[in-house]
């Protein structure tokens, strides 16, 4: 445990030393919410409704993009070589990839909470007394994104490939899920495709918690994302090979 904690500390501090990662997970999200909110506010009677929509959709988009933090944390060129030394130490392989997942998750979660707090101060509706449920749901979702990022690295053995594919994949599911604008209004086929996207499912559950006081989606989100994380960890255990670092 002590060894795991040392690796975890190092991974977390490496993340916090990367200004691009920090901005990507904080400033970028806020800027996108502001821009999209402002651009679409004309469609609403109350401009705040536009910001409310994009605050949630981009928070979810940001959580999905958290997978890129994990690929960076796992295989970034400058980090890859020292990782080889960790592999030679008596730590075992599980702590290596699990610590990257955990560090990426915590890093993303802290920054996204910070974004959420800034949004709250700006008057965005994040559920009032139900806000705790939103923050709770963010935990396994953030973790599953990080786990997916690490799994992609284990499968593709290359950060660049993993993050390029992930980035496009996340962009597509975010687009289909309505992160940029809702596809519900664009015909039944697109609406049906949209519903396949996990981003759409999350947006629906988050809005139900925030606006309808409806918590029925919380447990499924917790359960599905935890199960998905477990599946990713299992995949990592099967596909992670020290040779990929040589």
């Amino acid at each position: 445990m002590y060894r795991f904690f040392q690796i975890f500390k190092m991974d977390l501090s490496n993340n916090f030393k990367n200004p691009v990662l920090i901005n990507f997970n904080s400033v970028f999200a806020i800027v996108m919410i502001l821009i999209m909110g402002f651009l679409t506010s004309g469609n609403y009677a109350n401009a705040m409704d536009a910001y409310n929509y994009y605050a949630v959709s981009f928070l979810i988009f940001g959580m999905m993009e958290g997978a890129m933090t994990a690929t960076n944390c796992f295989m970034e060129r400058d980090i890859k070589k020292p990782n080889l030394r960790i592999l030679s130490s008596p730590c075992g392989k599980f702590p290596i990839y699990f610590s990257k997942m955990l560090a990426s998750f915590l890093f993303d979660y802290i920054l996204h909470l910070l974004v959420a707090v800034i949004l709250l101060i700006a008057g965005i509706n994040l559920g009032g007394q139900n806000m705790g449920w939103i923050f709770l749901m963010m935990i396994p979702v953030e973790f599953s994104s990080a786990a997916l990022g690490v799994l992609f690295c284990c499968i593709f053995h290359c950060e660049e490939t993993a993050s390029t594919i992930l980035s496009l994949f996340v962009s597509v599911i975010a687009f289909l899920g309505g992160a940029f604008f809702s596809l519900d209004g664009l015909g039944s086929t697109l609406a049906a495709i949209s519903r396949i996207s996990p981003v759409k499912m999350l947006i629906d559950v988050f809005f139900a918690v925030i606006y309808d006081n409806n918590l029925s989606g919380v447990l499924p989100v917790l359960f599905i994302s935890t199960a998905f994380s477990a599946l990713c960890i299992f995949g990592c255990q099967k596909t992670f090979r020290a040779e990929d670092y040589l």
């Binding site: 060894r3 490496n14 020292p82 030394r85 030679s88 130490s89 008596p90 075992g92 040589l246």
Partner: protein, 313 residues
């Protein structure tokens, strides 16, 4: 001497290409074993298997009398220190932070960790720069820190994969002296390099590996002795002396004879045994010898003789 690590019938193939072919050797406690071989000979594969980074197709590794298996891997790794060929350091961190982190992975903590790190940095001559970021270090300093990170946890066996690549002679000397100090402290070292003078300076024993097989093994003296029988003589004649050109190949053991001006180069497979007959042959031809120089076999000669001079991929 006592056995520390024993490798038995180790084999490894990559995509049908056999890179290690049933190799066996042992490392004794307290020795510096140099693993030599041209590029692609199988050195790095051997080291990566020993470090548990690469699986093996067959063979066993026994450490201190215990077979290294999956269940023993952790305890085995605890005893190892590794100096990778690529600098495995966090450039954004200080020397001390790097050493602390990598040493903590071996379970050291608290004051033990502090002491071990200080000792290792002192050993590497980096105490003054311990707070500086690695990215500000010279190549030699990074190499020294690379070693410090490997030895701080007091390993029994340090595996060094070409630890002196690309550094200045001063840093290289420092590293070689450090290795001698480590050996004096009873630490066993497995060392790979391409620099023969390093092997001459530090090795207790040498293994030459090529095409995945061990082709020679022994102390440097023994290896040299094995090819000592082949000797090259450079014979210089007095000015104006007639130069004999024939008859050398009639002398038993002469492999090659060349003359250029008043100089004759002879390669003999019989060492000094046939030197008197060669001298008589020259004298009989009416020539006067000014000087005879014999070329001693160096490790490089041994290496090139065993592995050939052909360029490798």
């Amino acid at each position: 001497m006592e056995k520390l690590l024993e490798i038995n019938s180790l084999s490894k193939s990559f995509k049908g290409n056999r890179v290690l072919d049933n190799i066996s050797f042992l490392i004794e406690k307290g020795e510096v074993l140099c693993l030599l071989g041209p590029n692609g000979a199988g050195k790095s594969t051997t080291i990566n298997i020993l470090l548990g980074l690469l699986g093996r197709d067959s063979g066993t590794i026994t450490y201190n009398g215990k077979v290294v298996s999956r269940s023993h891997l952790r305890a085995y790794k605890q005893k190892l220190g590794v100096v990778p060929q690529d600098l495995a350091l966090y450039e954004e961190l200080s020397a001390q932070q790097n050493a602390r982190f990598f040493t903590s992975l071996y379970g050291l903590r608290g004051s033990n960790l502090d002491e071990a790190v200080e000792e290792a940095l002192q050993f590497a001559g980096l105490t003054d720069r311990r707070k500086d970021k690695v990215k500000t270090f010279s190549g030699g300093m990074k190499r020294r820190l690379n070693i410090a990170c490997a030895i701080a946890h007091h390993p029994e066996l340090v595996i060094m994969d070409e630890p002196t690549v690309g550094i200045d002679p001063q840093s290289r000397n420092h590293i070689l002296d450090s290795i001698k100090k480590l050996q004096a402290d009873g630490i066993t070292i497995l060392y790979t390099t391409h620099y023969m003078e390093e092997v001459e300076a530090i090795s207790s024993r040498i293994i030459i590996i090529d095409h995945g097989k061990i082709i020679a093994e022994g102390t440097k003296e023994k290896l040299k002795e094995n090819i000592q029988s082949e000797k090259c003589y450079h014979i210089e004649l007095e000015e104006g002396s007639p130069v004999p050109t024939e008859g050398f190949y009639d002398v038993e053991g002469v492999k090659e004879a060349k003359s250029d001006g008043n100089k004759i180069d002879i390669v003999s497979l019989r060492g000094v045994e046939n030197l008197d007959r060669i001298i008589s042959l020259i004298s009989d031809a009416g020539a006067h010898i000014r000087n005879i120089a014999g070329e001693e076999a160096s490790l490089e000669t041994v290496f090139l003789k065993l592995t050939g001079r052909k360029l490798r991929n």
